[in-house]
Symmetry: C2
Subunit: 113 residues, 2 copies
DNA sequence: CCAAAACGCAACCGATGGTTGCGCCGCGGC
DNA sequence: GCCGCGGCGCAACCATCGGTTGCGTTTTGG
């Protein structure tokens, strides 16, 4: 059975730039569109759009602070995302194992045939 | 450190329709564009495009058989993809744990303050 | 108090996921 | 043997998305 996956969460995390942004935010604790864009190969506006996406699915939250807007990772939501990644991985892994077992069984059958 | 991720592999697996296609192929052993499209909410042509993508990154292989073209999952490549999913998940999970430890340490500090 | 820094909004561009429409080809029944 | 149908590929078209440039607005620090 296919793991029930929140496609919004998954596709938010599916973008490589957004993954790197989450990495940076986790490493630094927090960051702004400008600060992140300095460490990424894209412009501030692109980063701002991504932050919007991540905020919409709840993976980060932004709080205005003066003329900046500081973003921080929502740990609970990220944990959910991680859980979904590993759920899908586990589902596929299970199928692969099952296939392998069958293949081996067939092989044994041939051997003694 | 960010897990080294093959963005092509990841983004191939990032699409929800492609994930469902992989699920179906794993469950059935093989399938064609038409047979898959019957069980998916998209047209045969969309499925055919996705099969092209998956083929290009090596997650499936298609062999012509008469007037059909049968596709089958490449287990080794899928295993690689699974490994990358869990690598990223593990990296994030590690960071979350570290953050939690620090938070707890701060809490303890406050308690005995 | 004013200029620099950070932001938001809008227009535009290429790639991609999706559709419809069409034409070609291999196979099975008559 | 051929003819029709089932499956496929190609092409045009559309919406969305990741990315850019450009510009106006707000906040703040010297």
């Amino acid at each position: 059975m296919t793991a029930a996956v929140d496609d919004d969460l998954w596709s938010a995390v599916g973008d490589p730039t957004r993954r790197r942004m989450l990495d940076l935010l986790l490493a630094d604790g927090e960051g702004t569109a400008t600060s992140l864009s300095e460490r990424l190969p894209v412009t501030r506006q692109a980063v701002a759009k991504h932050l919007g996406v991540l905020d919409r699915v709840g993976l980060v939250h932004g709080t205005p602070s003066g003329r900046e807007r500081r973003y921080r990772v929502d740990e609970a939501q990220l944990a959910r995302a991680i859980a979904q990644l590993s759920a899908v991985g586990a589902a596929w892994d299970g199928r692969l194992r099952r296939i392998k077992r069958i293949a081996e069984a067939v092989q044994r059958g041939k051997d003694q045939h």
